[in-house]
Structure formats: structure tokens, C-alpha cells
Symmetry: C2
DNA sequence: CCGGATCCGGTTAGATACTG
DNA sequence: CAGTATCTAACCGGATCCGG
């Protein structure tokens, strides 16, 4: 380990040495959101090289923030989990994210649209409890995207498991959600209420009336959606 | 500006792009602590090269976190001040520092002793209100250090201004504080109570009885001293 | 497919010196 | 006081490859 230290006893400096390395804060957000496997983490930080991810995981393990262990029962699969010190980073991530939600210009965020990250985040935050107690299949159609990223299926199983597919799983679709990537992202971030998007025709729902009416309940928004903007 | 972006719309990622660059979190702590001038900031981040400091200041200005302006009345002196967005970073710095205070091993912090940073921090946090309403001169003697860093004088003026000198200002000394750098740092960080250090003979006070008795009131500790450690 | 390791080129940071 | 300039070392991004 090279001496890339700030050489300050101050707890801010000591913490920043490990927390403020490139990608680390974003990676920790993935952990706080619940990811545990190498390739699961990769999906949340797709632009991070696997080599750097591997290095950061080692650094975080050395720092006592995560633990690496074998997946129970599986011979050579590994998982990474937050330690108590790692779980205690949740307020830090929340403070950073709340500040970002409040002060980063809306347009700057909306220049980084990414359907993979959006759908992955939406999947993680679906609340199945207001849904009918059967399998519910919701198809999202991004009308402005090319074929490969255009269609997505959320499958909420009776056991409350949520799957995300980018190829047709073949089930009957209960609700179609037709929109564009920007509108869906604005909704997710809390910039645009669902009702307004529907009024403006930027979001069109077709299918099961109950699922449609309850959209605002089962489609949880970003954890930061409720933080108010102070700038336009 | 190269594209060193995370390319994620998530507010954590957007905020981390600017907040988690090398040195930036430590620099922001300096701002939150009240520094405004280039060389004042340098004193708080002595291991940061002036070139990088200059670049970071420009980055923070571009990000809308600080503002650069001329010092009122002075022709070519400049100052940097937090904007509203910058002041709103205080909870972020506090969250990072509190986590550090709680989870960074004590020994790791105490490997980075630095009398300049310690005295600079102490000076900033002196509370003159419990002191006699006259000039109070306190000499700190680090018995384990060489001549150049051994003696320090805190001068609390009647107008409540606090000066720090590393050369004898020539005033009569009201209180002598004789200790070693590690003990003083432990006290500052909240690891060791003043009373215990005195009992163990690691801190020796000589001079004005009232100043001595009130030490715990005018010597404010680190803002993070009250955060409890969860690890030994 | 999973969980990485290796190699290479470009960018960034550290050290030191210097200037208006 | 408030920064630049310059050179070198460390780090990062991207692509490729590898063993189970």
C-alpha cells in the first residue's frame, strides 16, 4: 500500500482516505442498496473496470468496511457484505445523496440517462405489497430507444420476488408502461409527478386498472426523490 | 475538462464526482471550519501542493460550492467563501467525520501527529468567554519535540481574538501547559479526558489557578470529540 | 458464466522551484 | 500573498485474457 495518505489525524481526513477514492462512494451506494456479488456490483457500476472494482473491494475489506466470504453451499462463489462499520456508512451515503439531489442541476443529471441503471434501481425498489397476490408482469417500453434497450419486463412473483428482463419472458403482460427514458427518469428522481407525466401524455398506462391506479404505491421512487430542490 | 465522470444520474454519483476528488473533502472541512484565504487554506492542508489547491478551488467554484472575490478594500487580495450550496455541505462533512471518529482505529489516527495542525485547530476552537477579560497568554510546551515545534503561544485578546505564535511574543505567560504531542492530541480528539491526563502526569498545568480550573471550558475539543468510539 | 488478473497508454497527483 | 511551471511517479480506464 503506497503512502497516499493525507497525513492528518482529523477524522474527516482519515475517513476521506478510504471513502473518497475514485468510485468508492458509488460502490458503497451499491452495497447500501443491497448488492453482494461481484457481478451484481458490476451491474451497478458498469463503467468501473473489473480490475479497479477488485482493488476497491480489497481496500474496503482492509478498511473493515466489507467482508468477503463464500456463498453458503456454493463451492467457489463469493459474496461481499457490509460489516457493522460498513452499515454505519448509510448516513454518509444519505448525506451525500441528499446534497446531490438538492444542489446538482436537474439538467446535469438528465444528461446521464441510462436505462440499465434506471431499471435496475426500479427493480430493487418495487414494493409488491399493494399488488394482487399472483404473478404480475409489467412491460416498460421506452419509445425513444433502439430495439436492444427498448423493452423491459418486471415480473413480480407471488413470493414477492422481483425479476427484471430485457428479453420477453413470455408471460401475459398485466400492465404496459409506455414512456420515454427521460420522463421515466424524471419520475424516478422525483422531478416529475406521475400524474403530470400522464396528463402531458409522456406516460401512457394500458392494462389492469387496479395496477394502474396503484402505480404510485408499488413503484417506489428513488430514495432521494423526497428531498426538495432548492435550485431550478 | 476530460470526461472523468461516473456517467450515472444518481445523486450520490453526481455529488461524488465533485466531493470525492482527492483532497476535496479535507479542503471542504477547512472551509466549514472558517478558512477563506489561499494561504489560510494551505495551512489546513499543508501536504496539498499549491497547484492542486488552485485547481480544486477552481473546480469548487465551477461546481457552485465556493465563490472567489476580492477582499473588501484590499486591491489584490482574494478570498474564497462557501455559497449556500457549500454551507449545505456541513452535514456531509459532519457525517464523514463522525463515521471516522467512530470507526477509524485510534492508533491509526495517532500515527499522524502534527503539532501545526493540532495547534491551528485548537486556536480556531478556543472559547474566550470563560476567561478573564484581559489578555490571556497560554504557553504550550511539547516536551517530546525539537526546538522548532516545541513551544507555542495562544494569545487571547480582550476583544476575544485568538492568536497563535510559534515564537515567543514576549508577553507574561498566564498559564503553562506542559505535555507531549500524543497526549495533547488524545485530549483534543476526545480519547483521553483532561483529568486523566493530569492524574497520569502526562499533562502538567502551571500558573493562573482560575485559567487552570476552567481549562475544560475554554479549551474546546474537536467537533467530533463527543462521538463515541465503538471499537478499541 | 463467474471472479477476477494482466498489460498498456493516458491522466492525475506529488515535489520542488519560481514569479508578479 | 497568491498562485505557476515543470518533472516524475502513481493511478485509472479499456481491452484482453484466464482458470474453474
Amino acid at each position: 500500500m503506497t503512502d497516499s495518505s493525507y497525513e492528518q489525524f482529523c477524522p474527516v481526513a482519515m475517513a476521506a482516505e478510504v471513502l473518497c477514492a475514485r468510485w468508492t462512494m458509488v460502490l458503497l451506494r451499491e452495497f447500501v442498496a443491497g448488492s453482494t456479488r461481484f457481478n451484481e456490483l458490476r451491474r451497478g457500476v458498469p463503467r468501473m473496470s473489473p480490475a479497479l472494482l477488485s482493488k476497491r473491494l480489497k481496500d474496503l475489506e482492509t478498511a473493515g468496511i466489507i467482508e468477503r466470504s463464500r456463498v453458503a453451499g456454493e463451492p467457489d462463489l463469493f459474496e461481499y457484505r457490509l460489516t457493522e462499520a460498513g452499515r454505519d456508512l448509510k448516513p454518509v451515503i444519505e448525506a451525500v445523496g441528499s446534497w446531490g439531489q438538492r444542489w446538482i442541476k436537474t439538467e446535469a443529471s438528465l444528461e446521464k440517462l441510462d436505462p440499465n441503471l434506471l431499471m435496475w434501481d426500479m427493480r430493487r425498489n418495487i414494493d409488491p405489497s399493494p399488488m394482487p397476490r399472483r404473478r404480475n408482469t409489467i412491460q416498460i417500453i421506452f419509445t425513444d430507444l433502439q430495439e436492444a434497450q427498448r423493452n423491459w419486463w418486471l415480473i413480480v412473483e407471488p413470493d414477492q420476488d422481483v425479476d427484471l428482463c430485457s428479453v420477453d419472458p413470455g408471460f401475459d403482460v398485466d400492465l404496459y408502461l409506455s414512456t420515454d427514458l427521460r420522463t421515466m427518469t424524471e419520475i424516478w428522481m422525483g422531478y416529475t409527478p406521475i400524474a403530470r407525466a400522464k396528463e402531458q401524455g409522456r406516460l401512457i398506462l394500458t392494462g389492469n386498472r387496479q395496477l394502474e391506479a396503484d402505480l404510485g404505491r408499488w413503484l417506489s421512487l428513488s430514495p432521494f426523490a423526497k428531498v426538495g430542490k432548492l435550485v431550478a
